[in-house]
């Protein structure tokens, strides 16, 4: 039962700027653990989004690029096409990936670009102060949906993993969460798997992570976790939506 636990090597020592209880920190660690595990830090290039994770490069020790809002998949495409030997991942929030960057992620996924995307779905725009995201839950209040998301007016939240899984090109598409240690351990496996597919030059790989934003939800970290479990998980079911194997079998 007793185990050891240490900071992954390719995670830097720097303390993060995230709010207390923000799950970005956990997800960073899982990415770092996967990269450590696969011993690929020396050939990895990360791509930071525009969102709360915009300076996430400060927390990793390998090469990094900073994208424009939503364009990380295009940058990753640029890198992988000219340097297929590099391991590339994008780390993107839901405003970044699902709103302004929808075209880029759909096309990168559909072309089967061989990079990995870690998609942090916290149902809100964090960095800019809690505006509505495409993933905001029905009736959820945000600074631009002060009366709650009205689905009659702006539609239902987008399930990005399902959307991408509906494309015909083979890919690894999974949805995970970090709401409890058990979930975190599963998410860790999924992220490792996503990188593994890339190392094997297999396919595009995509890990959606259902997350929290206690600050903009106006909750304590513990309450945020409960809210996400109760409200988000039923709408954003966990698990693998697509694997390259499942496509080949079909």
């Amino acid at each position: 039962m007793a185990k050891a636990f240490a900071k992954p090597i390719c995670l830097s020592d720097q303390e993060t700027h995230y709010c207390p209880g923000c799950t970005h920190g956990v997800i960073h660690r899982l990415v770092a653990e996967a990269i450590d595990d696969l011993e690929i830090a020396g050939r990895t290039v990360g791509i930071a989004p525009v969102g709360c994770a915009v300076i996430c490069y400060n927390y990793f020790t390998f090469d990094f690029q900073e994208a424009a809002h939503g364009r990380a998949p295009a940058m990753a495409t640029g890198i992988k096409r000219v340097r297929p030997d590099l391991i590339v991942f994008t780390y993107q929030g839901d405003g970044d990936l699902a709103s302004i960057g929808m075209g880029e992620i759909v096309h990168a996924a559909n072309r089967g670009e061989k990079f990995t995307t870690v998609f942090v779905n916290n149902a809100v725009y964090g960095m800019t102060g809690g505006q509505m995201a495409p993933t905001t839950m029905p009736n959820q209040k945000t600074t631009t949906s002060p009366f709650g998301r009205n689905v009659e007016e702006v539609g239902m939240p987008i399930r990005v993993a399902e959307l991408l899984a509906s494309l015909a090109t083979p890919a690894y598409i999974t949805r995970q969460t970090v709401l409890s240690p058990k979930h975190i351990l599963k998410a860790k496996k999924a992220i490792r798997q996503a990188f593994q597919y890339q190392v094997d030059n297999r396919c595009f790989s995509f890990v959606e992570v259902v997350s929290t934003c206690p600050t903009n939800w106006g909750m304590t970290p513990a309450d945020a976790i409960q809210w996400a479990e109760k409200t988000m998980l039923p709408y954003y079911p966990l698990g693998d939506l697509k694997t390259p194997e499942s496509v080949e079998e079909a």
Binding site: H17, C19, P20, C52, V54, M127, G129, T215, N216
Partner: protein, 177 residues
């Protein structure tokens, strides 16, 4: 005549609101005002500050590096800004959280345990109003009655807060006496 007040503290200490109330009070007195916030990318933590400029003439530059007065709600703010205050100004130090003094000889330094006073009133979140009361009482930058009127107005939507905040103002005034 122009005078400037910098309010500084942690995000969440109600810094921006104190400034806004002062600015509104001055506006009531038909003075020219400008309220200039610091704004940064981080949602939480770090130092928040705002500057209120009050003048009987149109305000030229709203960017003030040397304010007349300072209301310092936490230690980093005092350390960062104490040196910028003009000689003769008021520096209010929230002694509940700041164990040190400004180190300035040429200013009117006023040490008030505003957080403790607010806690005593039953709500630490009124610390900013305690500080405002103390600061206005000491500096005389506007008359106290107008300030009270403005605070009353500010909370008119949430009646239950009015009394608490009026008490906070009074406690501030007493502490500055």
């Amino acid at each position: 005549m122009q005078s400037e007040v910098m309010f500084a503290g942690f995000g969440g200490q109600g810094i921006l609101l104190s400034g806004k109330i002062l600015a509104e009070a001055a506006m009531e007195k038909e003075l020219e005002v400008a309220w200039v916030p610091s704004y940064g990318p981080e949602m939480r933590g770090g130092t928040a500050y705002c500057t209120v400029v009050i003048s009987d003439n149109p305000i030229a530059s709203p960017i003030i590096r040397n304010p007349m007065h300072l209301v310092a709600m936490n230690r980093p703010s005092l350390e960062k800004f104490a040196g910028t205050v003009k000689p003769g100004g008021v520096i209010l130090v929230n002694s509940s959280l700041i164990p040190i003094a400004s180190g300035r000889e040429d200013v009117d330094e006023l040490s008030v345990p505003v957080t403790d006073i607010a806690a005593g009133l039953g709500n630490v979140r009124t610390a900013n109003i305690v500080a405002l009361g103390a600061f206005v009482a000491r500096s005389g930058i506007i008359d106290f009655e107008t300030l009270k009127e403005t605070v009353r107005n500010e909370f008119k939507q949430k009646k239950k807060f009015i009394e608490m905040n009026m008490a906070a103002l009074e406690e501030g005034r007493k502490a500055a006496a």
